[in-house]
Amino acid sequence: MKKEWPLWEVFIRGQHGLNHRHVGSLHAPDAEMAIRNARDVYTRRKEGVSIWVVPSAQITASDPGARDALFEPATDKIYRHPSFYDIPDKVGKM
């Protein structure tokens, strides 16, 4: 029998109050072992307080070719940012 351990994506919450962030991937036979391995591979120096693992095969990614269609329309909508609006100084902090 020969079967490679599946790949898992690892997400770590660095500190209380922060989001889990993708840090890398690893091989493990199941979710429980993936957590154990992630602890050894990605948190040897107190890098985190919580770990998520997700089978890599379960991730759906956006198409790199669709980058412009997805993200380009946002670039000319500068009115979505607070710096677009001039508020007179005498109004004070807003």
Partner: protein, 330 residues
């Protein structure tokens, strides 16, 4: 230079005007300093070269555990033992980060490991030298990890995203490795005359093999030129070797040790040291498999892989069975 003499399959570096439209867009992204991600279009040569380079780098991390692992049970104090354990564990982690980076290019970790075991992929020449005394563990950290850092720091800026991110993580951890090695060297060089002699002996044996880690001069190499235009190699081998010598010689002086090179001399004009080249015929012999420990290292890796097969298979069978049981229960 944990990866040495990586082949790019290129005969010459092509001018941007000779490239296809896709290739030109790709090269321009690299020239702008953009990162290439695994799902982006890339030339086949870029993908293949990176698999060779990252794979060789990963193998070096894993095989590199062996010369140091040799001393875990014989470390002189409990503190030195836990430090060495932590370092060797880091090397395993570095290997895993790198295998994962290589896997994003469409090769599996098991395939890479099997290529190594079949002698079709290499690891760094340096790990084919033995660690004979405790001072060697100091020399390995100081010189070998020092040389590795020289190469890995610029590679953090490499064009391939997953490789670059692995390098950032590795560099953060690698500095501890070099410093713990220098710490051992300080203790030994400043110890009894016998300990000082061991430190000098370790430097004598590791100096030239460390210089070889950067690989032979590649000023004329098409592969290096191609890799540099792809930004998967940032400096020439000679540049890195010079930097390493310039950094290391004053450290050896601080330790009161003598670099084993009669030709070593400060050159004011180039603002660096003149030094002797290592014996390149020895380097090529080691690459061919004729170094002092090539057979021992590869045998140890193959044995570990084969002895561990029942554990890998057993855990996988258990995981499959649990999935079936869960599905049946639903």
């Amino acid at each position: 230079m944990y990866a040495q003499m990586v082949n790019t399959d290129a005969n010459r570096v092509r001018d941007i005007s000779e490239m296809s439209e896709e290739e030109r867009a790709f090269q321009e992204r690299i020239d702008r300093g953009e990162k290439i991600e695994p799902t982006d279009w890339m030339p086949e040569g870029y993908r293949k070269t990176l698999i060779r380079q990252i794979g060789q780098h990963a193998h070096s991390e894993i095989v590199g555990q062996l010369p140091e692992g040799n001393w875990i049970t014989r470390a002189p104090t409990l503190e030195r033992k836990v430090i060495l354990l932590a370092k060797v564990q880091d090397e395993a982690g570095h290997g895993l980060y790198l295998y994962c980076a290589a896997e994003t290019l469409g090769v599996s970790r098991d395939e890479l490991i099997e290529l190594l075991h079949a002698g079709k992929m290499k690891y760094s020449s340096i790990f084919n030298y033995p660690t004979l005394t405790w001072a060697d563990i100091g020399a390995v950290g100081w010189l070998v990890d020092g040389a590795a850092i020289m190469n890995q720091v610029p590679l953090q800026r490499t064009s391939f995203g997953p490789y670059s991110r692995a390098m950032v993580r590795i560099c953060k951890e690698e500095s501890f490795h070099q410093r713990q090695g220098f710490d051992i060297m300080m203790k030994m060089a400043g110890g009894t005359p016998e300990q000082h002699r061991m430190a000098q002996d370790a430097l004598n044996r590791f100096w030239y093999p460390s210089l070889m880690m950067f690989g032979p001069s590649d000023k004329e190499s098409v592969h290096s030129a191609q890799s540099m235009s792809w930004k998967i190699k940032i400096n020439t081998n000679d540049e890195l070797r010079q930097k390493f010598v310039d950094q290391t010689v004053p450290q050896a002086e601080y330790l009161g040790l003598t670099v084993p090179d009669d030709q070593l001399k400060w050159n004011q004009e180039k603002n660096g040291y003149d030094f002797s080249e290592p014996d390149w015929s020895e380097f090529f012999e080691v690459l061919k498999g004729n170094g002092p420990c090539n057979k021992e290292r590869l045998d140890a890796r193959i044995k570990a892989w084969e002895d561990g097969a029942w554990v890998r298979d057993g855990l996988m069978a258990h995981a499959d069975k649990s999935t079936v049981a869960r599905t049946a229960a639903e």
